[in-house]
Amino acid sequence: MEWLISLPQFLAGGLAIGAVYGLIAAGFSLIYNASRVINFAQGQFVVYGGLLAVSVVGLGWPRTIGLPVVVVLCVVLGAALQAVLTTARKGSNELTFVMVTIGIGMALQGLAHQAWGTDYLTYTLYPDAGVRIGGAFLNVATLTIVAVTVAVCVALWAFLYRSIWGKAMRACAADPRVAQTVGIQPRRMILLAYIASAGLGGLAGVLVTPPLMMSSEYGVLLTIKGFTAAIVGGLTNPFGAVIGGVLLGLFEGLCVGMVSSDFQDAYAFIALMIVLLLRPQGLFGQVQMSSAR
């Protein structure tokens, strides 16, 4: 079983992309908690983060300025998306909002196609180096992405559990009407959720494009996988979602290595169906209302 020796390598291969899934999944979770909407345009934040970074670097901007600017642009994009959603007619239900995000996701992908084509683009950010840990080679890119994801989780925890805004968000997620009685405005909380999600997605895009490249075509696949990760970890729990993402990435890496590389993208779908069958609330989420009751 020569592959057992390669096991750590297979897992390591999935680590970077797993962290990206985790950041996307956290975004899903934040928006879902705030507004019960599944944002089908989530993957586009990552795409725009990556492609804008390529353009910004290509224009000659120094990375220390350009990359944060790109993340800010993604945040603005998130705010714009939420602004569009607020124009919905009275009496719109969730399905309406979800379908609006689908339409906007489509349009965003089309715009990205116009602006950057369908080619795979990249820019240099990390040095060509890495470490060997336990039989696996982890390059600087992977280490950086993992480190940033951990930092994001810590920051997210501090925000949600230690800051007044975060507590307000959690209150709003638990019961919007009661939250209103103490002066919290649900609309602001929803805006905050979209801004945070877009920022997380943009950051993920910026970090992951140098090693893995980015194309305007990736948006939908990232959305599907990010959602799967959120389901695995528990849609209602942002941290669970991040962990779900990492697990999904590891699972993908493992399956590609041990089973077959042909079904690369299908493993996420298989994981989704398995989780829905066995434990729909995910590892860390709460039990959701089911249709049977």
Binding site: I38, F40, V84, L85, T87, A88, R89, G91, S92, L95, T96, V98, M99, V100, T101, I102, G103, I104, G105, M106, A107, L108, Q109, G110, L111, H113, Q114, V220, L221, T223, I224, F227, T228, I231, S260, D262, F263, Q264, D265, A266, A268, F269, I270, L272, M273, L276, L277, P280, Q288, M289, S290, S291, A292, R293
Partner: protein, 577 residues
Amino acid sequence: MNMLPPSFLRNLAPFVILLVLAVVPLWTTDDYALGVWTFILLNILVVLGLDLLLGYAGQLSLGHGAFVAVGAFASALLTTRAGWSGWAAMPVAVVLAALLAAALAIPTLRLRGYYLAMATLGFPVLFDAVIRVGSMWSGGASGVTAIPRLSIGSAVLRDPKDYYWLVLGFVAPVLLVTWWIANSRLGLKLRAIHADETAALSRGVPVVRLKVGIFVLSASIAALSGCLYVHQVQFVAAGTFGLQYSLMLVVMLVAGGMGRIWGGVAGVVLLGWLSELLRGVTSWQPVLFGALLAGLMLVSAGGVAGLFRRRPIFSPGPLAVRAPPLLLRPGVSGAGGEVLRVNGLLRRFGGVTAVSGLSLNLRAGEIRAIIGPNGAGKSTALALISGALRSEKGSVVLLGRECVSMTADRRTLGGLSRTFQHPRLIPSLTVFENICLGSSGGAKSLRDSLSTARDVLDRLKLRTVAQRFPDEINHYQRRLTEIGVALASHPAVLLLDEPAAGLSTAEIDQLAQLLRQLRDNGIAIILVDHVMDLVIPLADQILVLEQGRPIASGDAHSVVNNDRVRSAYLGEAATYA
């Protein structure tokens, strides 16, 4: 009693559509335009099924193209590799798609949320991978070529006109079937599922089964379209019916108008030709159509069809001359036998015990009240009895049958109905249609359902608002309508959750009169309310809950004077006549 359909024009509409489509080949100028129309017909097939799923039942599928592909590949491979005739391959392809759809739907549709949407986004990825990997038999990434055309007898269908009419020959029955479904009681149930699954369950609608069934049906129709496609184009590859195509189906449906059947047809025709006209700027199409989808959903979601008001499916017809008959459930005597026995129900949420040790016996014609302070678990108790929540242990015996593990819809069909604290009527249905929803459970005939609904309507004197929508009537009328919906399923037991909330004194009196009539007719009632002026005079027995546990039970006088009840809820100084 005459139950004419509301307007004979409406029933002609599908035939008009078919007639218009049939004459298209006679005035198209060239084969190319006819080819576009043929693609439009093929897409109409798929969108008809998609409308039932998305427009009526409100379930989102973003990968319907994959089922078209399943049908296409199955038919292509059976005819090229195994030498079958195209006609023989079609039913096999459709059944295969149905099975795959069921496999996808059952795990996802038993949950509420957008799991189906994500699963339908992911399924094509798996399907693509299977096709690529199985390239030995599937043609892999290069696709399947030289697929034979269909032939009737010995005549090969080569002429584009012949092919167009062949496809139309499939569109016609599908259009008629989907039309019929949409305008039947099944259509009411689908709309109910879309609006409010909890309410639909409590009206006896088997929500999960219907969702899965409609999904499977729509997938099967899509596969049929795929079969017809390959014998015309004679080629199919893994990417032919990809995500872009699936999303375009949704955009077409939304643009034409969801939930109107002919809206889907209009949307396909309009956007099919728009897409054709815009082919000079094809790379902008995703932007345009994505923006169109978003914009339409923000503004109206009604599309082109939304410009026309929806006619109600069912109307009550002329006023009854004689008094409506008794509303008792057939087969149950009103003479006072036991109809409901509840024993030891328990429900916890996390660390909190919402209800524990709930037990009661109920006889026909009895009114039992459940009272208690806020948070005592009264609504939870009703939910446990009605099946909206699952009890962790205990038993619920309804008319002699144990049903503690039955879902709410089965209990409703078994004779137990409920109303909700805030009336949960289906907003897209009229008052009469809502009541029809209540009377449509089980295997009754259409005539019986409509006649029961009419009787309930007249009994509750709602005739004047029968054709209005819930947002057009006042609160008391909504309350009455909801009681009517519950009565329409011939319950032996009726659960009422705070029916007096928001009513004026006069309205409360009318309500009390109604409840007495129901009781006199042999219906057992469990009444939860805070309005003691309603509860005390009506209740034969009162059950008092505090923090989920029963603390007193008995007739009104003894309960009112119970010290514990007074200190927990009623107040020391309370007196009731």
